[in-house]
Assembly symmetry: C2
Homo-oligomer: 315 residues x 2
Amino acid sequence: MNAQTQAPHIIVTEVGTRDGFQAEPDFIPTERKVEVINGLIDAGVQSFETTSFVSPRAVPQMADAMQVMAQVRRKPGVRLTGLVPNARGAERAAAARVDMMACFVSASETHCQANLNKSKADALADVHEFTPIARQFNIPVRGAVATAFGCPFEGEVATQSVLDVIASYHAAGIRHVSLGDTTGMATPPVVRRTVKAIQQQFPDVLIALHFHNTRGIGLANVMAGLDLGVVEYESSIGGLGGCPFAPGATGNICTEDLVYLLHESGFHTGIDLEAVAAVARSVQDWMGKPLPGQYMKSGPRLKQSDLSSVRRAVG
Amino acid sequence: MNAQTQAPHIIVTEVGTRDGFQAEPDFIPTERKVEVINGLIDAGVQSFETTSFVSPRAVPQMADAMQVMAQVRRKPGVRLTGLVPNARGAERAAAARVDMMACFVSASETHCQANLNKSKADALADVHEFTPIARQFNIPVRGAVATAFGCPFEGEVATQSVLDVIASYHAAGIRHVSLGDTTGMATPPVVRRTVKAIQQQFPDVLIALHFHNTRGIGLANVMAGLDLGVVEYESSIGGLGGCPFAPGATGNICTEDLVYLLHESGFHTGIDLEAVAAVARSVQDWMGKPLPGQYMKSGPRLKQSDLSSVRRAVG
């Protein structure tokens, strides 16, 4: 594929202000969150997992969900999604005028218990309880499947467990799912096996892929997704979402590195890569720690160096 | 592909003690270099770009090339390559009993001048001068093509420039080339275009790919190489070769992350991944700075976490 052919459009959903910031122990001021989202909207990002309407007691970092939604700039064509665990969350999300609600249930029972403190059956019952509220407000719902490519407690996750969650989502009227690589266990063969099974069994469902770069192969998994025709990927600005130096580093794949790969591979995103990299650098600056993203450090591929500045390498 | 099918063997060439350590400003003690190589030999790595027989004045870090080669453990089936710039280097490399010599010429004229302080024509003349020495000692030669996917000074590099260097190598009897992504400019389409042209024009030449992760897409480029049937990749333990925090971070792709991707994708390497990760962690420890490799921080994909240790994430 090259720039001359009709390049497919890929949706890049920014999850940094939700999945990324949620991993931060200290509360990030609301104005910082809003600044990141507004900066990325200006850079052409059209889809966000903006915040989460979970209990502020469970996740204090997301306690300002209403304020974030009230303060971010709205722009036609930009989709601001809010994570919603139950009917109460759906009421708040609707009041905050989200463009989309995202529900989430783990494919593995143990992770569902650990994450939500309830069984998969109960979590799915909550989804079925709140989807009518979303429908009432004419707000579409995306169904996230956590631990879709493996569970840190149970190990390998059967494809059937993923299909079962999607079947329940489908019965609730959901036609858009996101497969979450919660702890970075996705590999190209597991991605292929899982996506193909969903494409076959639910041809009317739009699939998004949500990878973490825990074991360094996040963008290799994107390559597998692109081969299968998957047109939506979730990523975090700067690769936020985990400390690269801690054991078990678990950042999301990095938005600007993803966009670089997509553009170079001939896909459209509508995103201004340099503007996104500038936002990543500013986030890195005020967070005061190096983020894993590479593109923001290296700059454009065809940026030409000054010959005189170069130390000889010899080899 | 899965474990049941006949998995192709992939050669992983470790370049950390040459390309990686060469980027370090302080001299790394010879015993450290030897320790890394011996540790990786014990872990099953079968191919090394061990050291460089360039002028010690030009590259002080490689001044101990003879000592490194004298001290590393020799093992049947393990190939220890030395980088060789000219006839004088070839004499030293032969005396050090390297298993393979690697010559290197840039595809772009400007980079060749900057790196070797000579023109491409002169650098190729040097190759033609030293290959008879290698032949005399029955030592095979691998021809590295630097800036094969782009040049930091000239920008895009024409495929023809790569083919021209390989044609000269071929005329010198070389049948094994390594395409160097010197400053991390390779992308999947550029890899496809370049590798296909070489496969077509030089079907008798074995191709190795040498990527840097400068813009985060090194393993995506490996995916492109695997699709084309390329069976040799060069990488650095821990992703050595560049500071991840400096502007223009330029580490090689990381050996253990690469091996993880290969094994999970159904390829054989003969390498014990956990043993390689242990070497990476020890290198990171004595270097006293975080290395970019992810796998060594996260551990095995199916490692099962202790449920009680987990903070709830909610989403």
